[in-house]
């Protein structure tokens, strides 16, 4: 490159351009070039993030012969929706889709309610033992679901609820997965000024009235974050359905997706990818529309509060 770059000797690091005095216009031109190079780097880096989804959607439209071709085709030469038909004939896929959807919706609404109530009470109401109870609840943050899966399976089995959706609904709403939501709601209410609530009390609202009419509407952003990561968590749940469910009619989507295999146990790629596309695209579409909320909500859950 040009002589206006001096490399600082620093082993194991990329050459560091150090600015030396030079005419303004040349500096700007060089920066423009660097910037475009960086854009190219970003474009290359985004391939492994974007390409699999593209590949999934296009391959689901290819016949098996084209899928197995050595040098891949970027676009199906002879697109057909055959695989999509077989998605529904090989398994009760519509039923499984409904299972995932209604479970995720119920878990999301239930978690929002439970977390808003508990978060509000822990943040606002003084009652003896509140701190001890909060610490007890926080234990859930320390327990990966794999640790308790054996005893939970035992409990579910004893109650005769194996191969039902109850454990996939009740445990997430009340158990460890809800704790993060409680924590986030409590943090939110702690940071909320109390004046509006006090005004509500002066207007004669009781505690429940203040909660429903004032606190909950004000907490829409935090509830949105809770809703997004709770829904995705339920929608993606895998270990628990694999452990609890045994009949195809009761399967949820992640488990169902792995079942598209031929008589020899080999995957039927185009059918499997068609089912996967049907699972992924709606969520991706919602993400593209409500991107800001998704990023914020998931960043919350990523940081665990």
């Amino acid at each position: 490159m040009s002589s206006d770059i001096v490399t600082v000797p620093e082993t194991g690091t990329p050459p560091a351009p150090v600015r030396v005095p030079l005419p303004r216009r040349r500096a700007r031109a060089r920066r423009g070039l660097t910037r475009w190079l960086l854009v190219v780097v970003l474009a290359v880096l985004s391939l492994p993030f974007v390409f699999p989804t593209w590949w999934m959607a296009t391959s689901s439209l290819k016949p098996m012969s084209e899928i197995l071709r050595r040098v891949p085709t970027l676009w199906p030469q002879d697109p057909s929706f055959d695989a999509y038909g077989r998605v529904f004939t090989l398994q009760p896929f519509a039923q499984q889709y409904w299972n995932s959807l209604y479970i995720a919706v119920v878990v999301t609404l239930g978690t929002m309610l439970v977390a808003a109530m508990a978060g509000y009470a822990f943040a606002r109401i003084r009652f003896p033992g509140a701190n001890a109870l909060f610490v007890l609840v926080l234990v859930g943050l320390l327990v990966p679901s794999e640790v308790t899966i054996v005893p939970l399976f035992r409990i579910v089995n004893t109650l005769g609820l194996v191969d039902t959706h109850w454990p996939l609904i009740v445990v997430p709403v009340l158990g460890a997965p809800a704790v993060l939501a409680v924590f986030i709601m409590r943090q939110f209410f702690l940071g909320l000024p109390t004046e509006l609530e006090e005004a509500g009390r002066l207007d004669g609202l009781g505690r429940w009235g203040v909660f429903w009419r004032i606190a909950v509407p004000l907490s829409r952003s935090a509830l949105g974050a809770v809703a997004i990561f709770t829904f995705l968590k339920s929608w993606n749940l895998y270990l628990e359905p694999v452990v609890y469910l045994s009949s195809k009619e009761s399967f949820t989507l992640p488990q169902a997706l792995t079942q598209y295999v031929d008589a020899y146990g080999g995957p039927m790629w185009n059918v499997q990818l068609a089912a996967t596309t049907l699972t992924v695209l709606p969520v991706l579409a919602v993400f593209l529309v409500a991107q800001k909320q998704f990023v914020q909500g998931l960043a919350h859950s990523g940081l665990k509060g």
Binding site: V8, A16, V18, R35, L38, V41, L42, L45, S46, F49, V50, P52, T53, W55, V71, P72, M117, A118, A121, I125, R126, F127, P128, A130, L133, L136, V139, G140, L142, P144, E146, V147, T148, V150, P151, L152, F153, I155, V173, L174, A176, A178, V179, V182, N236, Y238, P254, Q255, L257, T258, Q272, V283, F287, L288, Q291, F294, V295, L298, A299, G302
Partner: protein
């Protein structure tokens, strides 16, 4: 001292509001934790219908079990590989996105999008791409490189599991780093620039020290998360080839639900819990320092 009626009523509301999650924690967190410790002291095979108190025998078995040693080794490799690649890539992406380049929002969307894709779906697509004659090797052959049979060779399989997981979730860490980067004062960068520091030097001497608490925190969170990897392994490799990708959680699952060794699986669960506990306490410790740093 008797509380007034209003105060008592308020307390009652408080108890009612926390009741669901408190009772739920007792039933689905605390009780199972006690149970799992209790089970770990028993020889319990579900098929054979045995349930005998054996004291610490399961723990002694763990010490002598080569399968568990393999699983721990695989877990360490997986966690280290994941955290190194993930943090490095997340930092790189965050720094690039922080340059106010054209198209930044689009690229951010690209990098983040796998986070919202179902994990099993993402893994299935990658397993398709990673077949011996799949898209990745097809792409490599165009470049003149002969790719390995990713999922049938031990080292390649471990690398594949790590890579698939990194691309899935690195967007989340990228966002956390991006937020930290945007908190680095512009004046400090400018001062370093006037002192003649190049881009790399500014990053290493100004930016990195300022965001290092975030890097530490995110690293620990990523390690804890890496211990809970199950679906990826199950779909991509089934723990294989051999036991090369059988991490601790997968070993636990196999012992419990393949071999019906509930007692032994419970002892492994206790080990997993202790490891996660130590790491999480470490995380809270580092969070305290982080908060202090911000003050």
């Amino acid at each position: 001292m008797a509380a007034s009626a209003a105060v008592r009523r308020d307390r009652l509301v408080g108890y009612t509001m926390v009741a669901p999650v408190v009772l739920g924690s007792l039933a689905f967190v605390v009780l199972p934790l006690v149970m799992v410790v209790w089970y770990s002291l028993h020889e319990w095979n579900v098929l054979a219908n045995t349930f005998t108190f054996v004291g610490a025998e399961n723990y002694q078995r763990m010490v002598a079990d080569p399968g568990l040693a393999d699983a721990l080794r695989a877990t360490v490799w997986f966690s280290i590989g994941l955290v190194v690649v993930n943090i490095a890539l997340a930092l790189l992406l965050a720094v690039l996105l922080n340059q106010r380049l054209p198209g930044t929002t689009t690229f951010r969307t690209f990098f983040f999008s796998p986070v919202v894709v179902s994990l099993v779906a993402w893994t299935i697509v990658w397993s398709f791409l990673l077949q011996a004659d799949g898209g990745i090797n097809g792409f490599l052959s165009v470049l003149g490189v002969e790719g390995p049979n990713w999922l049938r060779r031990p080292e390649a399989a471990m690398a594949a599991v790590i890579i698939v997981q990194v691309f899935k979730n690195v967007g989340l860490n990228m966002i956390l780093f991006l937020a930290a980067l945007q908190g680095v004062p512009e004046e400090l960068q400018e001062a370093a620039r006037l002192d003649g520091a190049g881009a790399w030097r500014r990053f290493r001497s100004v930016t990195l020290p300022l965001i290092s608490p975030t890097v530490l925190l995110v690293s620990i969170i990523t390690i804890v998360g890496s211990l809970e990897v199950f679906a990826q392994i199950d779909v991509l490799t089934g723990g294989g080839p051999g036991s090369s990708t059988t991490v601790l959680v997968y070993y636990l699952y196999q012992q419990a639900f393949r071999f019906n060794e509930f007692g032994y699986a419970s002892a492994i669960a206790v080990l997993l819990f202790v490891i996660v506990l130590v790491l999480t306490l470490l995380q809270w410790q580092s969070r305290k320092r982080w908060v202090f740093h911000e003050l």
